[in-house]
Symmetry: C2
Subunit: 333 residues, 2 copies
């Protein structure tokens, strides 16, 4: 076992897009588990857009990161020493002590991961928080119904790609937007989207008009900003908008202007609902029951963008906010 463990600390709060120097790679001794504790060595660290919000010093639904302290986030690791805590040596666990190589825990807040069901990395992706986020957004928030049209922005991301496939498997027509030709090809090819387009190729309103000629019943919004404005102009009467994220705005320090076309909410009797997956963990059983078999059978596909080495986490995170990933972005420690 290594004598030292590396971790990533917040060096400074970014102003706009995070830069590498906003992070610090530090070495600490590997901690010793006490009585009733386990030592976990992380294998996969989750790289998520919501972490950008936590770099701000403002009150939000999750606590801010503190300057000079180790950051955290989702991670899957293996128990390498156990003095209790409910986990045997060699077992796999999922928890929220990411951005570091090792940690000690008494087991609180950790969930077991069964490596025989699916690769352990899926506990951070299609069968974890992003998958649950996608499923809740399509079903509970978006109230998607067979025969309707769903548009999903940021469709090649971990949440978007899963949301689109869930809607397709439920019998909707699914249209996605992404930022590279390769992503667009992946959506309409392997993932079976009915249509997809590169939002950098033309103006959004025309692209949406072309690909959603009959309008949009459900808009699954990962992007916000101009995507939301363009979608509002195409919504059908009684449409629903699931506000899942606003990645276009995470690097903006000033509040962005609100969506144009807001009058559409009134005229078309729309329902816009923002949600945060922490409020919906009671749905995890129903989610796994429906989505688990689709993953096992291969009907629902996922992709991971895996970056090797904890030292590359800041670069991977910056890339995520730029849209470099396809599917779930992970660090392999």
């Amino acid at each position: 076992m290594a004598e030292t463990s590396r971790e990533i600390r917040l060096a400074s709060r970014p102003d706009g897009g995070p830069r590498p120097e906003d992070f610090e790679l530090a070495e600490v001794p590997v901690p010793e588990p006490g009585e009733g504790e386990i030592l976990v060595r992380n294998e996969y660290l989750s790289v998520d857009p919501y972490m950008r919000g936590r770099m701000r010093d403002v009150k939000s639904y999750v606590p801010s990161f503190e300057v000079g302290k180790v950051m955290d986030g989702g991670a899957v690791g293996q128990v390498v020493a156990s003095n209790g805590g409910g986990f045997e040596e060699g077992s796999w666990v999922q928890g929220l002590q990411g951005w570091r190589e090792h940690y000690v825990s008494n087991g609180d807040g950790l969930f077991p991961v069964d490596p025989d069901v699916a690769p352990v990395s899926t506990a951070l992706g299609v069968l974890g928080m992003p998958g649950l986020t996608a499923w809740v957004g399509v079903t509970d928030i978006g109230q998607a119904k067979e025969g309707e049209t769903m548009f999903v922005s940021g469709a090649a991301g971990a949440v978007g790609s899963t949301a689109g496939q869930i809607a397709r498997l439920k019998g909707l027509r699914v249209v996605g937007s992404a930022g590279t030709p390769e992503k667009v090809e992946w959506l309409t090819g392997e993932l079976g989207f009915d249509a997809a387009f590169n939002y950098r190729d033309g103006d959004l309103p025309s692209q949406l008009r072309e690909h959603c000629p009959k309008g949009i019943d459900v808009y699954f919004d990962n992007v916000g900003g101009d995507h939301l404005s363009a979608a509002l102009a195409r919504m059908r009467v009684h449409g629903r908008i699931a506000l899942c994220g606003a990645v276009s705005q995470y690097n903006q320090e000033a509040p962005p202007p609100g969506p144009d076309n807001f009058v559409s909410v009134l005229v078309n009797r729309l329902n816009i609902r923002g949600y945060i997956i922490l409020d919906h963990y009671d749905r995890i059983g129903a989610f796994l029951a429906e989505v688990g078999p689709w993953v096992t059978s291969g009907e629902l596909k996922y992709r991971e963008t895996i970056v090797e080495g904890i030292e590359n986490m800041p670069e991977a995170f910056i890339g995520l906010l730029r849209g470099d990933n396809v599917g779930k972005m992970l660090i392999r420690v």
Copy 2:
């Protein structure tokens, strides 16, 4: 009986606020009811903000008025001649053939009005479309719960004043905004609002902070624009916004900018829902069952601004959009 009947026609489509010359007062012969028809003489004509939208030549949820043709809207009148049609001479009916003194009908789309239950004018107000709009917005859309705080903008209007009282009677703390000191006094005095303020007196965000120190659970929006932006900044987690109207924007020809603070929808997991009362007429029985007794007992108060003479309808309508009315605005023919 008069030999001629007066009616108001759309002379031209306004650009910005309507002017008197956008309307034309015309005289036509009193129509003769045929077999199976009735002749109705209108007594009260309803003056409503949504009529502004119908003066535009754009597709919306109700058809546009046509230039040179008589306009229409809600009205209560008395049957003055009957050859059938399901209504006796002397009975009172409510329908959508307003903006005129007389009309002929086969009875389709007309509802009986019982003058013994309440003054017949209430069929256009507290026990009619505005009352139903208020009740549906508070209960079905706003999901108002005892102990919560509701903020209602345009609170001295026909819908707003009823919505606020319904919420008060359901055990909410109710705060209203209006545009004159007299209206504010009426809200906190006779109507029993917990607080009210004149939005012209200071900046909205500060006024809302003062009067809703713990935030807003339900925002009943009749105004849109800066009221919506200010409310978004004060919404509590899991708050609901019922978008009922946007009177601040009806006279604007260009689409107004969207609300600031839109990120609040995501962070606070808000639910924003636009609605139009035509979709909710199936709730009229439940509405009358709950609200009727409150009106009879005097627990729920209403006020009418009555302008005499059909020739004054354009001026009354222009005044309505300016906020001249307290409670329901009506024309007595």
